[in-house]
């Protein structure tokens, strides 16, 4: 310990001396001068002549310069000086060989930057603990069986009987409409029990969270909402927000990192690509004690009591469930809860796996850049052999030579890292923004100290990795042998090694290209899929309001639905509009309502169907089918005459007709859900990759239960540019109902693209990686063959002079390139086979690259590699023998 301390203080002392180096030198000089002077005086007083005394004193003292150097040595300055020399020398050499330095720096920057960007994403999304107090103790409760919904019934029962939890807090999500300016806006609201914030253990940046004495009319707002909608006003506390005519006082602002629950808005049907939560309001138990007995929450989060384990809590809940089921005797069968860890809920396998896949891919890119740069560095070192040899001959030890090479590669890696830092910064923000809608916490991704540290480590690692080969070569430099045969030795020793490097490159590039190829093929197939709709020239608007309680039943609801019909009518009458209709949710958007086919019977029929299946329910106005270009296969579509007072009618899609009625013509059949008046063509509602599912259509006028707070979507088919139309439709909507908020205005094509949003970012990334990989492999092959060509110029020239066939010479060189390519491709094929299961981890199932795809990619790579060989081969074979031989 004291020894360590001693070393430390000695180090501090040395460093301090290093910093006042000039002064240390100066003092030493003065001291030595004094010594010589005093000696001279002593000799003079012994009777020597002044001149002689001076000479004598000096001789006795020795060379002050040498003593000073010895002092520097003693202080450990010499190795520092040497390092500085190395740095300066390699910097000068790199500046001289600018093409090399820039190529290497940019290549490395790309590899390192991309890796750091993906790491930043992985780190922020997966590796970092959730920003709550002791997040490992947080759990989520779900209702079972999932087929009856995952909301938790009778939370109080669990609260009363369980001893595993410090606290349990239930909450529900809803869309509310806020009127700040002229246009109402939709806000994503969480209604939570009072204990939610204390359970999560997160402090607000302003004000306070739900306190015991807060009334129900309080709201805590998100940082983003505070900044974007409330202007970041520091005096916002106490300000009243009016949500659907209900006043709420703002009591606190949460930090930007606070997102609870993650992807809240996306869990609401009809809301696509929304991750934000805008505000949290207080849920109060209803005053009516009868209702109070079994409150029902969509979501429940809990904190485990120390030291209860997750498993213990889960088994306790199972026990409670068993007891509750005996007491409740639920007519629809047993109902219980299951437990999941909150971090598994937020970053489950569907979130984690694609990111890991991307990280693997980017690591391959990084390896490729390393191999490429190693090859370049090796080439450069070979051409610098004479320089190294001379140094070795002048007495530079092998360590010094190794250091020289490593200093250079670390310098390059450092430069690459700096540029890479910029790429990482830009890339992580772009990626984060791109993935923010689907991946929780992706929006937070940025370059911070963790990422910077990772980058520094990667930088040093790559520097050592690609500097190793030239350094080993430099260390082995044998002055005598090299001077004797300066050209051949290195080339022979490292020829095979470099061949292997290029083969590795081709193999890695193959893996990337095959992966990207599989994704592109799948995207192409998806986009080429007929969705059943004509999506061009269609524009969609989402309209929503909080319904006045007076409009929620009976006559009030026909007023509410009537307004939507009127909006569709007005839109249709606008110039340039061909058709307009309304639905609650568009196909390919987040899906909403389903029912069991067991509950779809012919009138008078009893008994259940043999194997019930789920049917989608869609509520539309009469113009919907024309607006989306969905054909009616048989019978008729809805008409304006299908009003609330008319006899109830429904439409079925082809799949439902086939599954439910087989060969029977369904038109005119009377069912418990209304008379079937038509069969609609199939539309892929769930995903482009999934065939159409059974679907049942209602006219909104006859089934208004779906006219709720989430609002409706207006679909307009138009001709010409949509620009002026949007404003006209906005006016029409406001004329009919000024309370309606209008948002998510996008073309139907965009809606289709959005439905692929979970897939596209990964596709772009993989494609980018593959392109980079291919480029690196091509330049690597080119570099190798070009070098071999240059090294064998003399041989070629002699052969040519002796009359060898041109074609034979070309073949001689090409053969090597082809051999390397084949070896690379075969190893790549094996590696791709190993990596193929990774593709299954993407949110959309991607089939692994088949034989045809692998063959196509292999051919592409072979063509690229051969093309890379051709130019240098041609150049080598067409040299003028006389020129070459004279040069040597």
């Amino acid at each position: 310990m004291t020894r360590l301390l001693g070393t430390m203080t000695a180090l501090v002392r040395r460093t301090r001396m290093l910093f006042r180096r000039r002064q240390v030198d100066h003092e030493l000089d003065e001291e030595m001068r004094l010594h010589v002077d005093l000696r001279q005086r002593r000799l003079e007083s012994a009777g020597m002549a002044p001149d002689a005394a001076r000479r004598h004193a000096r001789r006795r003292f020795g060379s002050p310069v040498r003593h000073r150097e010895a002092a520097h040595d003693a202080l450990g300055w010499r190795s520092l000086d040497e390092l500085r020399q190395d740095l300066r020398h390699s910097l000068r050499a790199l500046l001289h060989d600018r093409a090399f330095a820039i190529t290497v720096t940019l290549t490395l920057a790309l590899g390192i930057g991309a890796t750091a960007a993906i790491f930043s994403l992985l780190d922020h999304v997966v590796l970092r603990p959730l920003p709550f107090k002791r997040p490992d103790r947080l759990v989520q409760l779900y209702g079972t069986p999932a087929t009856r919904g995952e909301s938790v019934d009778g939370l109080d029962d669990y609260r009363d009987r369980s001893t595993s939890f410090e606290a349990l807090a239930g909450y529900s999500l809803s869309a509310r409409y806020l009127r700040l300016d002229a246009e109402p806006q939709r806000v994503m609201t969480v209604r939570a029990e009072r204990s939610l914030f204390s359970l999560l253990g997160v402090e607000p940046i302003l004000g306070h969270t739900f306190a015991p004495d807060d009334s129900a009319a309080v709201a805590v707002v998100s940082r983003r909402f505070w900044e974007e909608r409330l202007g970041g006003d520091p005096g916002v506390l106490g300000r009243t927000l009016t949500l659907d005519n209900e006043p709420f006082a703002v009591i606190g602002v949460m930090p930007a990192s606070f997102q609870f629950p993650y992807s809240a808005a996306s869990s609401l049907p009809g809301v696509v690509r929304e991750t934000r939560t805008d505000l949290w309001v207080l849920w109060e138990p209803p005053a009516d004690p009868g209702l109070r007995a079994r409150p029902r929450f969509s979501y429940v989060t809990g904190r485990l009591r120390e030291p209860v384990t997750f498993e213990a809590a889960a088994s306790e809940l199972a026990l409670i469930d068993a007891r509750l089921q005996a007491e409740r005797l639920d007519p629809y069968g047993p109902r219980g809860v299951r437990l999941e860890r909150l971090d598994d809920v937020v970053t489950g396998p569907t979130v984690r796996r694609p990111l890991v896949l991307m990280f693997v891919a980017v690591t391959i890119v990084l390896l490729l850049t390393c191999v490429n740069v190693a090859n370049l560095a090796l080439m450069r070192a070979l051409s610098r052999r004479r320089d190294l040899t001379v140094r070795a001959a002048l007495g530079a030890g092998p360590l010094r030579l190794v250091r020289l090479c490593l200093v250079e590669s670390l310098q390059l890696a450092g430069a690459g890292g700096l540029v890479g830092l910029m790429i990482a910064w830009w890339g992580s923000h772009r990626l984060g923004a791109m993935l923010a809608a689907q991946v929780p916490r992706a929006g937070d991704a940025s370059v911070d100290w963790r990422v910077a540290l990772f980058l520094a480590v990667v930088c040093t690692g790559t520097g050592l990795l690609f500097g190793l080969a030239p350094a080993v070569m430099a260390g082995r430099t044998n002055a005598r042998a090299m001077l004797a045969d300066a050209d051949r030795q290195g080339a022979a020793t490292f020829g095979r090694f470099r061949d292997a490097l290029v083969a590795i490159q081709i193999g890695l590039a193959f893996v990337l290209a095959a992966g990207a190829g599989a994704l592109i093929r799948d995207l192409y197939l998806l986009r080429a899929t007929d969705s059943g709709m004509v999506t061009a020239n269609v524009i969609t608007f989402h309209l929503g309001e909080r319904l006045d309680p007076a409009l929620r039943n009976g006559a009030g609801q026909s007023v509410a639905t009537g307004r939507f019909y009127e909006i569709a009518d007005r839109a249709r009458q606008l110039p340039g509009v061909q058709a307009a209709g309304i639905t609650q949710v568009l196909p390919l958007q987040n899906w909403g309502w389903t029912a069991s086919s067991a509950d779809f019977r012919l009138r008078g029929q009893t008994g259940l169907a043999a194997s019930p299946f789920a049917m989608h329910l869609r509520y539309v106005t009469d113009g919907y089918f024309r607006a989306l270009g969905i054909p009616i296969r048989a019978g008729r579509a809805f008409t304006p005459a299908d009003t609330a007072s008319a006899p109830p009618v429904i439409l079925v899609n082809e799949t439902l007709a086939r599954l439910r009625f087989g060969n029977t013509d369904p038109i005119g059949l009377e069912t418990n859900r209304g008379r079937i008046v038509g069969v609609v063509a199939d539309v892929r509602q769930v995903h482009l990759a999934t065939p159409a599912e059974p679907e049942l259509y209602y006219p909104i006028a006859q089934n208004w239960s779906q006219v709720d707070d989430l609002g409706m979507t207006l679909v307009v088919r138009h001709e010409g540019a949509p620009g002026p139309l949007v404003a006209a439709i906005r006016r029409a909507v406001r004329d009919v109902n000024a309370n309606l908020a209008m948002f998510d205005v996008k073309s139907m094509d965009e809606v289709v693209t959005d439905s692929l949003a979970t897939f596209l970012p990964y596709l772009w990334l993989m494609t980018a990686f593959a392109v980079v990989g291919l480029t690196l492999a091509a330049t690597g092959t080119y570099g190798l063959i070009a070098y071999v060509g240059a090294a064998r110029r003399r041989e070629c020239a002699i052969r040519g002079a002796l009359g060898a066939d041109q074609r034979r010479l070309v073949w001689l060189m090409l053969r090597r390139g082809i051999l390397i390519t084949v070896v690379g491709l075969v190893s790549g094929l094996v590696a791709a086979g190993v990596a193929a299961p990774l593709l299954q981890t993407l949110p959309v199932s991607v089939s692994p690259p088949g034989i045809a795809m692998s063959a196509a990619v292999a051919v592409l790579l072979a063509v690229v590699a051969t093309a890379a060989c051709l130019l240098p081969t041609y150049r080598a074979s067409t040299v003028d023998p006389m020129v070459v031989l004279r040069n040597d």
């Binding site: 001291e31 006795r60 002050p64 003593h67 003693a74």
Partner: protein
């Protein structure tokens, strides 16, 4: 004027010993003291004293302070610190060990 070279590492011992005996000395005084005590046998190239002093400063065996000599010239005075005193003991015992070993060999050989 050839002088005997002193064994490696011995210079440190001599300097430490000198400082231990005399307290505070500047470079020239240290050189003179060593010469005087060793009757000129061991005197080295005098300047090599200074790199040795620098190293000892860096190692924290001695401390130094600028002062003035009797003739009113600026000089750096060195002084032993506790770490140096410990080092002196180490050096002395090492010297004795090596010296007695060499002495035995020399005696046996003769």
């Amino acid at each position: 004027m050839r002088r005997d070279e002193i064994p490696r590492g011995t210079l440190d011992l001599l300097i430490l010993k000198t400082l231990a005996a005399a307290g505070e000395l500047h470079g020239f005084e240290i050189a003179e003291a060593i010469e005087r005590r060793s009757a000129d046998v061991l005197s080295v190239e005098e300047g090599s004293l200074y790199p040795a002093l620098q190293r000892m400063l860096a190692k924290g065996w001695v401390s130094a302070e600028w002062g003035t000599t009797a003739e009113n010239r600026r000089a750096r005075y060195y002084r032993l610190v506790p770490a140096g005193r410990r080092q002196l003991q180490i050096e002395v015992s090492r010297f004795q060990r090596v010296f007695s070993a060499i002495a035995r060999i020399v005696e046996v050989g003769s």
